[in-house]
Symmetry: C2
Subunit: 352 residues, 2 copies
């Protein structure tokens, strides 16, 4: 591999500069993405077309010196494959035609077969790997079981997740059956991505942070641990690292770091130096600039990058990222400033 | 005062049972509130009418054995008094006609005079105190400077607060001028509420938790500390306790507890027993049941109340509350279950 900084950092090994990628780096802030999406017709058609998914995955790498590519897809492909009828209504985010509202709904959910039902994802992974041609590693991903369950119950995004929480508190057994089913599907899905060529995987637990700390462990982290334990952890003679990202999970950092994962993704509300102190060298850390800082001036972006690098200090095991996905209104030039600042300023903290 | 449990708990004194109140306890989940609001015409007219504001403040106390009343008002009365033109559009929450988008906008904001501009609030406080007639203490409140600033810049609620953050990062001096002006107004506002009869005050920092930890200290906590230092802290020969509530502030608990406040309000994402361990007896703690648990069955509500009481344990300094405001769809009968469970189960942990 020409550039393996990302995998080296996840393994806690020496690097020349801190590797950087961005959650949602293939996305609406890029005019070329918007063109390809228009060509595809809509968002879901873009996800389901391996050639176009490959194209948008590669677009940010043509502009910026990112140290990893991430599969372009949606986090809700699994419930869609289960027949829940995923669609996107303009300005409202993802929606489902069918909803999970009872234990019976859970029991009627079909088991899915990744090779049949999600071949468009594994085909995209294989194609992207071929096109990357060893330049940078490819990250596969999935939503966490809890995060998928919230969308399946609420029918879309939610302000207070009242339906998902009512289901959790009133029907904990049915919720556990749903989460078990999703954990099995996520495991198969990520393993299929690894077999198709993904060299690292990230689990996005976007909504774990809305739970109480005990409910987080019982209904989200437990299932992510189960997945981590069952993943293929080596392929092509390299370790396949697993990153867990729980938004608003800073309070539970030690518990997350003990899940068996290789790295914890941090949102921007935690100081990365304090996070490093709390967990030592147990796992690598990924993050954690506030994505809103990309709206600020280049000087401010550079200052914030420098401040995060300084807080992390002279240690291995840091993958630079935003604390959440980049937003559509960001000026693409600001992303250059961000990526270049990470590479320029981080040499100081490494001895390779 | 007939029932001073709330004030005793805030002072870390012995109580017979744990006192309880609920953020947004006067609100849309109550049919009598919806009737009064209809009578007022709209939400803002209800806030601005002292008799009707008094009526809705008292409504939950007629139904439930709450240990405190909280002034019914809106957190955005100060920017409204500054001429920003607060209005409410159905289903979309608060909006402002004028926006703060530059340092010049900040400098043109008028200084307000509470006695003239917010007499409807202090009149309501005086009236509620008279009507309460010593039954339970009355809590006054304000939004925090940072939280007020986010609404004034964004023009309403926001998904990612990109405008407020851009202002903060690109124009930190102008942001500090805005926050200073708001801190002065909030101080005068809370002191006027205390002079009119409020026996405790709470500062709602609803949006502090969206900042990085260093920005939280610089742009939110600093101004809340400044306010706390300038509040009237004794009235009618009793101490006036101050509660700071930062939603998603669990990671910064120690820093918040060192602000000079008497109590820290906790959202539901933190275990209250761990919070108690982290800060010792320095301040009282208020919270922290997930408001979504009120959607669950009575048994689940009772179990969660018991679990929070057990986690806090045999110690003084706990005011029971939700971790955020009650939501409109809650069944009013579930609130009875909640309040009664707190009183019934907490006797075990107290020796009075």
């Amino acid at each position: 591999m020409k550039n393996d900084r990302f995998l080296r950092a996840l393994a806690g090994q020496d690097v020349d500069v801190t590797p950087v990628w961005m959650m949602r780096q293939a996305g609406r802030y890029l005019p070329e993405y918007r063109n390809t999406r228009k060509q595809a017709g809509d968002f879901l058609s873009l996800c389901k077309n391996p050639e176009l998914a490959c194209e948008v995955t590669l677009q940010p790498l043509r502009r910026y010196a990112f140290d990893a590519a991430i599969l372009f897809s949606d986090i809700l492909t699994i419930p869609d494959a289960m027949g829940q009828g995923l669609y996107f209504s303009e300005g409202e985010g993802p929606k489902f035609k069918k909803l999970i509202r009872s234990g019976q709904d859970v029991d009627e959910l079909p088991d899915i077969n990744i090779a049949d039902d999600l071949a468009y994802v594994t085909d995209a992974v294989a194609l992207i790997r071929r096109e990357l041609n060893g330049s940078v590693p490819l990250i596969g991903f999935s939503g966490s079981p809890w995060t998928l369950a919230t969308y399946m119950i609420e029918g879309g995004s939610s302000r207070d997740f009242s339906l998902a929480k009512q289901f959790l508190y009133d029907s904990p057994e049915a919720m556990h059956r749903l989460l078990s089913k999703l954990a099995k599907a996520v495991t198969d899905y990520l393993n299929a991505q690894i077999e198709a060529g993904a060299q690292a995987v990230q689990i996005f637990d976007t909504w774990g942070g809305i739970l109480t700390s005990s409910a987080y462990v019982e209904f989200s982290l437990t299932y992510m641990k189960e997945i981590v334990a069952r993943l293929i952890r080596e392929s092509e003679s390299r370790k396949i690292p697993v990153i867990l990202f729980t938004k608003n999970g800073g309070q539970w950092l030690e518990t997350i770091a003990n899940s068996g994962c290789d790295a914890v993704g941090l949102d921007w509300t935690i100081d990365i130096g304090q996070a490093r102190q709390r967990i030592g060298r147990k796992v690598a850390l990924q993050g954690n600039m506030d994505p809103a800082i990309l709206y600020a001036s280049p000087d401010v972006i550079r200052r914030e990058v420098a401040s995060i690098l300084e807080s992390f200090g002279r240690a291995n095991g840091h993958v630079f990222n935003l604390g959440h996905g980049i937003t559509p209104q960001v000026n693409p030039d600001h992303v250059s400033v961000f990526v270049e600042a990470v590479h320029e300023f981080s040499g100081l903290y490494h001895s390779l």
